[in-house]
Amino acid sequence: MSLLKQKDESLIKNNKMIDENGREIAISVENLVMEFKVSKDRIDTLKEYVIRTIKRNKTASKTVRILDDLTFKVYKGERVGVLGFNGAGKSTLLKIISGIYEPTDGDVKINGKIAPLLALSAGFDKNYTGRNNIYLNGAFLSMTEDYINEHFDEIVEFSELGEFINYPVKNYSSGMNSKLGFSIATLIKPDILIIDEILSVGDIKFRKKSSEKIQSMMQEGVTVLLVSHSIAQIRKICDRCIWIENGKLVMEGPTEEVCDAYVENAESGKKKKKGKKK
């Protein structure tokens, strides 16, 4: 992740991670803590920094704990769903696992090639044609040139863009954008798939196709970490669930159990609120 530590990481990857029972671990999260600094007036110029240091009125910035001592493991080939209400820290967790954020404290170990389907068209250059964007985005997803050349037609065909692949992306509709993004992102043959509510992309036709694509990836034994607010989807896909709230692990176990408890909690929460109003 950083310039100097490159070597250590590749070492971890070569030695497969195996737990006491002999099962291979895909993702291991240990005592994960994530804190964000929030201050009402952030000092972001040198002038302000100097003046405030002299005047000694630097407001101590508040830290907000998004993830608090989170520990769990995902075994290889498992499909794990992450449940939690808005602001529970799910997306932050996925971002840490994908390597975008560095945790404040704790350890995250990844075993295998990871494909985060988080922000599908984040790397697009608006002025580039669809064709050039396939190469650019492929590079962002750490593919090699040969690999993209080989699979280029496959991407174009899957994205259903046809002639539009030669037009700049700025002229695309948002549906076309995400279709292209999805087609590129799913091209990697990953060991671990990180999904944040993207199973609904494009129109009905493409939605079906994309969920079929993800299904077929899963059947090949890919490890899946899925965040979704659709309980039905999680029940359908996952075999184990993790429920986090305020950055803490509330419950971990088989999908049905955790989902039932989660739904019950959500409904009772509603009732409580209603009760208070009365």
Binding site: L46, I100, P116, A122, L141
Partner: protein, 254 residues
């Protein structure tokens, strides 16, 4: 992600290409500006200053261009790297890409620009009848060392710039001072002997000085090269260490 050199090389290539295409996307002359820019400034400076210093300097256009090209690379390369992290914050907040890749790509892009503008230098050398010496090959050494210096400095600036956004303005003033201190358009002889000492401590001037010696067919001074090399690698090491410490916290500051 990004475990092999090949993947990084491809990303680098794509990022440099993206910079090249986006820079000239609205101009009708496109990449030709990489030629016109140094050529036009050279003509302006030659017209103005060759009257003042023409007698002291052999082939003023070549003297000016050989300094200007290196200075331009230094200034735009370090500025490009400085802004690279902030400019790509949208990408860095959403997908995992090693952050130093953006800094490297910015410097590489300016280096490509620099190499393109060499055509102008050679063109002017032919037009003014300047001889091509074999020492020209040695100019790779100061160029390479300058590249390392720019990259190291760029890493340091990129970190500072994400924490304090006004570093950019300060740095603009700094590069302006540096330009006047690099003997771009005047001969070193007009500077008082005592102050010349201070000038030679400026690594950009040292790079320009060694480069000019190569162009003018003189073997570059080994002490200057050594000084530049030590300076460049020191800055690079500081840059890498600083970047390594702060890279982790960077995505929270963007």
């Amino acid at each position: 992600m990004f475990d092999t050199i090949e993947e990084k090389k491809f990303l680098l290539k794509q990022l440099v290409k993206k910079n090249l295409t986006s820079k000239y996307k609205d101009s009708s002359l496109g990449i030709l500006w990489s030629f016109f820019n140094p050529l036009l400034t050279m003509i302006v400076f030659t017209v103005i200053f060759s009257m003042l210093f023409g007698r002291n300097i052999e082939n003023y256009p070549v003297y000016f261009l050989s300094g200007r090209l290196l200075y331009d690379f230094f200034s735009s390369g370090s500025k490009g790297a400085m802004n690279s992290i902030k400019r790509n914050s949208g990408i860095l907040k959403k997908i995992y890409v090693p952050k130093y890749m953006f800094a490297i790509s910015a410097v590489c892009y300016e280096f490509v620009n620099f190499l393109i503008s060499f055509v102008i230098l050679f063109g002017v050398m032919i037009v003014t009848g300047a001889p091509f010496h074999w020492t020209l090959i040695l100019s790779i050494i100061p160029m390479g060392l300058l590249f390392i210096l720019v990259f190291g400095l760029g890493l340091i600036l990129a970190i500072c710039n994400t924490y304090f956004s006004d570093i950019g303005y300060l740095y603009n003033i700094f590069t302006l001072v540096l330009m006047y201190a690099s003997a771009l358009f005047y001969p070193m002889e007009i500077v008082p002997a005592r102050i010349q000492m201070i000038f030679t401590l400026n690594p950009v001037y040292t790079a320009i000085y060694s480069f000019r010696e190569c162009v003018y067919g003189v073997l570059p001074d080994p002490f200057s090269i050594l000084y530049l090399g030590v300076f460049a690698f020191m800055v690079l090491i500081i840059g890498i260490i600083l970047f390594d410490i702060y890279e982790k916290k960077l995505s929270l500051e963007l």
